[in-house]
Every structure is written in structure tokens, then in C-alpha cells.
């Protein structure tokens, strides 16, 4: 792809981003001081539980925040361009051509009264008015091949297709303009296990063939670790760790206590009767977030500074972790 020259330049760069929802009881910060970089041609996973701010982040990156939600500070740069500095028309042209999104339950995002072919063609023509309808249709057929949908089926209406096929169509629409970044927010949650796996395999295959970056948002740790090369873990609106997906399988690599807990809380198919361990307590109420490290009330390693001082992301053995355990001075403070 031509639109990014330097290979090490981040496709997506989020800096100090905070997003607030205005409520009757005051502002709630759903995303706080978030920093994240997605590199060219990588699949980056973003993991969080409900209320961790992961979907809010996706909407903020797309500049699609609605209602009482607003960016209170920080910046989002895609291909070096600040998307909050664009005017409406600039944004309309930029979005989808350079960054697109597959939504949660995307299979219900299709228009029921248009054939899926029309929907793909309209998307292409909207951004590439120089193309003829025939050329756009040719492109639509190529996309159908890419997501392995029989060309004869793309003149169907959405209700005539299965959930998995609809999800493939939505992915085809998302990549129809060859964007540099596709954000996928829980794209396979509503699908059966086998369909889910085949779509994930396809995303990976297409991503390698066509070359774009993916920010893959999910609550499902084992699924993301299967797909992504790097994973960011969010808790209470902040990134608490960025790590290599591979390192999760390696018991010797240090992780944030929340990451560790989440990993231990998932039943593993291959492990024989390994004891499961949940994380005690419940996710925090963002109206009254805990002081210091937001995870400290649930953490098994909590010591003094955790209650008062908010830990920052630091390099720890190749990962970035926000935890006082891994800061030498922090440990001294605790003693």
C-alpha cells in the first residue's frame, strides 16, 4: 500500500486519550489517558471486560462518539493525520477509505431491502466516483471471492444468507476500499464455534494477502491470543498491559496481575483438570473508580503504593506493564 511510507510509522497512534460520558451524576471517564500504537500489517488484540472502555475506544478512534460521549483530551492519529482536526467532508472521505470498522453483531448492520451486491457497490462508488458501476460490480465479485462467498450468492438479500455469510459480507465491505486499518469490535461473538473459527482464519488469511492492520476488540482471551500478534489489555478505561500474544502461553513471562488472573480464569481445552481461579470481586464502578491502581481491590499482590499511586506503563521483559510490582522503587516504598 502506498499511503504510508516509513515502515515503522504507526498506522494508528492514540496519545493520552480520555473519553467521558456525561451523566446526571457527573462525568464518567470510560477511557483514561490511553496510549496505543498499531503498526503496519499487524493484528493487534484489545481485550477487556464489559465496561472496560474497549468499545468506547473504537468509537472514539472512528470519531463516531454520540450522545453525551466526548473526547476530553488527547489525540487520535491515523496515518499521521489527526482525525479530530478534520472537517466533515475530509472526515467522510478519509473514513472507510483509510479506516473501517466491523461492528458488534455486524450481521444485522446490513440493509434488509438491498441486495448485498448493491451494498458493496454503493460503498465503493461513494468513495470512488471515478469508477463505473460495472467496474464496481467486478470489484464486488472479487471481494466475494476473497471472503469465499459464491459469486452467485451476492445478489441475495441479507435474510437469505446465514449469519456467518452476512458477517463475511460485512468484512468484505470493510475492506472494499483497501483501508490501512480495520477495527473489528467483537465480530464473531454471535456466531457458532466452527463458523467463528473459519471467519477468524479467513481474516488472518486476507490480512496477510491484502496487507492491512487490524485492531481486534474482544472479551475472549483465548480467541484473541489465537488471532493477534500483540495484545493490549484494558481495565477500567486504561491499558494495563501490552504484550506479545505468544508470551501468554509461557508461564515464565511476567504479566500484569489482571492479565494473569484472566488467563487463569479461562478453562483450557487441552489442559487436564487444571484448577480454575476466578478474580475475586467485581469490575469497578467507573463513577467511583478506586484510588491508585484501579485493580488494587481485586489484586492478590496489593501493597501500599497500589492504593494511592497510579502505576504507569513500563517496559518489563519485553512487555509494557502498568503495575507497582515491577517497579523497584515501588517495592521499596511498600516495605
Amino acid at each position: 500500500m502506498s499511503n504510508h511510507e516509513a515502515i515503522n510509522e504507526a498506522i494508528l497512534e492514540i496519545k493520552d486519550l480520555s473519553v467521558a460520558y456525561g451523566t446526571a451524576k457527573g462525568d464518567v471517564l470510560a477511557v483514561q489517558d490511553m496510549n496505543l500504537r498499531v503498526l503496519p500489517n499487524e493484528i493487534m488484540g484489545l481485550i477487556g471486560e464489559s465496561g472496560s472502555g474497549k468499545s468506547t475506544l473504537a468509537y472514539a478512534v472512528m470519531r463516531l462518539l454520540k450522545g453525551s460521549a466526548r473526547v476530553v483530551k488527547g489525540s487520535v492519529r491515523i496515518l499521521g493525520k489527526d482525525i479530530y482536526a478534520m472537517d466533515k467532508e475530509e472526515l467522510r472521505q478519509f473514513r472507510w477509505a483509510n479506516i473501517s470498522m466491523v461492528f458488534q453483531s455486524a450481521m444485522n448492520a446490513l440493509n434488509p431491502v438491498l441486495t448485498v451486491e448493491t451494498q458493496i457497490v454503493d460503498t465503493i462508488l461513494n468513495h470512488r466516483p471515478q469508477l463505473s458501476r460495472r467496474e464496481a460490480r467486478e470489484k464486488a465479485h472479487e471481494l466475494a471471492d476473497l471472503v469465499r462467498i459464491d459469486r452467485s450468492r451476492i445478489t441475495s438479500y441479507p435474510h437469505e444468507l446465514s449469519g456467518g455469510m452476512r458477517q463475511r459480507i460485512v468484512i468484505a465491505i470493510a475492506i472494499s476500499l483497501e483501508p490501512s486499518l480495520v477495527i473489528m469490535d467483537e465480530p464473531t461473538t454471535a456466531l457458532d464455534v466452527v463458523v467463528q473459527r473459519s471467519i477468524l482464519d479467513q481474516i488472518k488469511e486476507i490480512q496477510q494477502r491484502v496487507q492491512f492492520s487490524v485492531l481486534f476488540i474482544s472479551h475472549d482471551f483465548s480467541l484473541v491470543s489465537h488471532l493477534a500478534s500483540r495484545i493490549a489489555i484494558m481495565y477500567a478505561g486504561r491499558v494495563v498491559e501490552v504484550t506479545e500474544a505468544r508470551s501468554l502461553m509461557d508461564a515464565k513471562v511476567a504479566h500484569h496481575p489482571y492479565t494473569e488472573g484472566l488467563w487463569r480464569a479461562i478453562p483450557k481445552l487441552t489442559a487436564k483438570s487444571v484448577a480454575l481461579e476466578g478474580i475475586v470481586g467485581t469490575p469497578p464502578d467507573l463513577l467511583h473508580p478506586p484510588s491508585g491502581c484501579a485493580f488494587h481491590p481485586r489484586c492478590r499482590y496489593t501493597f501500599e503504593p497500589c492504593r494511592t499511586v497510579r502505576p504507569q506503563l513500563q517496559d518489563v521483559e519485553g512487555s509494557e506493564i502498568a503495575c507497582h510490582r515491577f517497579v523497584p522503587e515501588g517495592i521499596q516504598h511498600g516495605q
Partner: protein, 318 residues
């Protein structure tokens, strides 16, 4: 007899009518299913959507009337019991649902959710109910009890709500619990605790379960035995470790390969992703359309469920 099964399901059939007018037809989401659950045993029922797994759960607690076959509890026929006998049956078998947001009444406190079933169990004698509410909240880990009793569902987290649903199901001291996807709507960090609670209750009260799930990993963790369903029929059934380590049925193998973090790498065997045909006059094996090893006989004859080695049952012509 000591080895008598707690629940015995024989040839269970459930039919639904779908569509109206000329298009009206019947589907069979549960098609001649037989299995047993022993006292204190956890049977995990695994399948995708449309496999009939939830329908079996509902037929078992008699929310749905079975169209054919029989249900026995401790040797007594409960297939068609009504009125008092049905109420008595339901004291032995209880159900918890997937959605802890939908299964509690938003205008009732936790205490009131438990009061009725506890009174039922005590045959309407008033004494000691309050103590029992405390006790059952303790059992499911809803503490401090005095605070929890007066809360409304909206004041609880998803995990806590599911605990209330479990406490309510246990209030009548059943011998078996049908748990239909009890953790799939909960946050990941909460799921393990609910599974542990269910496991603890199994050991403490030698409670039996029919654990319905789409997730083989949790089925292996919690289930003593796993039964894999497809298109309303049992494809394979075996002790959990054996099923995961030595799957025999092509569908079980496909499911295993598709589960994240399975030993399987590389692409899945090529199959269509069509959902199973449940219509009444379907012929042959329900998985035939998707099976990579399909043979002519699969399309005409339904393979019987045969015990291929001890406790390992497979329905496949291969």
C-alpha cells in the same frame, strides 16, 4: 439399587410447528435422544445453536411437553405427571438460565426471590424461613448476607444475579440442576467463580447437573461426561477427558479443532457452514451435509448410537 440412574431419558422427541398457512411444517429439534444422569454426576451437553441442547433442558424440567419418549426420575415415570406430582418432580429438578438479567423479577428483593421456594420446600410452615434465606445466601457466596437480602436485582452485578438464581434453584433442595449456558453472559473474570461454585455445590450436596454449553473447554472442566449433539441427535458421548483426547465422531473433531487454543493448527477441514436441517422428513445423518467423510449410506440411513468402547458412544457409519 445403588447404581440406578437419577434421570433416565428414553427416546425423547420434541416437535415444533413453524411457519403458518401453506408453509406450515414441523421441525424436530430433539430427535430420539436417550441418556442417563447418575446421582451427583455432571453431564455436559455440548452443541451449536440449533443442536437441540436447550430444548432438551427445557423438556427435562417439563417447561416443554415432550412429543414422544419418556422421562424417569429415580425409576418413577414423570413424562406426563401433572399438578401435585409435577410440583413434586420440580422439587427434585431445577433450572438456571443463561440470562441472569432476565430471570429475576426487577421489583422483588433478593430475599423475596428466595422466600417462596423455601416456603414451598418447607411445605408452608413459616418457622425458620429467615434463617434459611441467610443460609442459602451464604452457600452461594452472597455476603454480607444482611446487606444482600434487601437488594434489588438492578443493584447487583451479573455474577451476583446468577448467584441469586442459583440460590433460588437450590432452595427446594433439588437433586439435579439443569444449567443452560449459566456463564456465557458473564464477564470472563466472573465466569470461573460461578463454575467453581457449581462444582463446589456438586461435591457438597452431591448434586447432579445437566450442564448445557457451546464451549467444550468449560464442558471438560466441569463435566464428568460430555455428550455432543448435532441437529437434534447425539453424535458422541464419552467421559470428558476421553472425548477431548480421543474424539471419534467427525463433528466432535471439527468442534475440537475450532475451539481456540486447541492443539489443532492450520485450516479447518473444509465443510459447509450450513445450519442443520431439522425438518421432520429429513433422511440420514444430520451431519452428512457438512461431513468431510460423507458416504452414500450417510444420506439415507441414520447411524445408530453404538458403544464403541466402555462408556464411549458414537453415532457414525465410519
Amino acid at each position: 439399587m445403588a447404581n440406578e440412574p437419577l434421570i433416565e431419558v428414553k427416546d425423547l422427541v420434541v416437535r415444533f410447528a413453524v411457519g403458518g398457512g401453506l408453509k406450515r411444517q414441523r421441525i424436530v429439534p430433539v430427535n430420539h435422544v436417550s441418556f442417563t444422569i447418575n446421582p451427583g454426576e455432571v453431564l455436559a451437553l455440548v452443541g451449536e445453536s440449533g443442536s437441540g441442547k436447550s430444548t432438551i433442558g427445557r423438556a427435562l424440567v417439563r417447561i416443554l411437553e415432550p412429543s414422544g419418549g419418556s422421562l424417569h426420575l429415580g425409576g418413577a415415570d414423570v413424562t406426563k405427571v401433572k399438578g401435585k406430582a409435577l410440583a413434586a418432580y420440580r422439587r427434585e429438578i431445577q433450572m438456571i438460565f443463561q440470562d441472569p438479567y432476565g430471570s429475576l423479577n426487577p421489583v422483588k428483593t433478593v430475599e423475596r426471590h428466595l422466600r417462596l421456594p423455601i416456603r414451598k420446600h418447607k411445605q408452608d410452615r413459616e418457622g425458620g424461613i429467615s434463617e434459611q434465606i441467610d443460609e442459602s445466601l451464604q452457600t452461594v457466596g452472597l455476603t454480607p448476607v444482611s446487606e444482600m437480602r434487601v437488594k434489588f436485582p438492578h443493584e447487583l452485578s451479573g455474577g451476583q444475579r446468577q448467584r441469586v438464581a442459583i440460590a433460588r434453584a437450590l432452595a427446594v433442595k433439588p437433586r439435579i440442576l439443569v444449567a443452560d449456558e449459566p456463564i456465557s453472559m458473564l464477564d470472563v473474570s466472573i465466569r470461573a467463580e460461578i463454575l467453581q461454585l457449581l462444582k463446589h455445590l456438586q461435591q457438597e450436596y452431591s448434586l447432579a447437573y445437566l450442564y448445557i454449553t457451546h464451549d467444550l473447554a468449560s464442558a471438560r472442566y466441569f463435566g464428568d461426561r460430555i455428550m455432543v449433539m448435532y441437529g437434534g441427535q447425539i453424535m458422541e458421548s464419552a467421559p470428558s477427558d476421553e472425548l477431548v483426547d480421543k474424539p471419534r465422531h467427525p463433528y466432535t473433531r471439527l468442534l475440537l479443532a475450532a475451539t481456540p487454543n486447541s492443539a489443532h493448527t492450520g485450516p479447518l477441514p473444509e465443510t459447509s457452514n450450513r445450519s442443520p436441517d431439522l425438518s421432520e422428513n429429513r433422511q440420514g445423518c444430520p451431519f452428512a451435509d457438512r461431513c468431510p467423510y460423507v458416504m452414500a449410506v450417510c444420506r439415507t440411513q441414520d447411524p445408530p448410537l453404538i458403544e464403541q468402547s466402555a462408556k464411549h458412544l458414537v453415532a457414525c457409519h465410519l
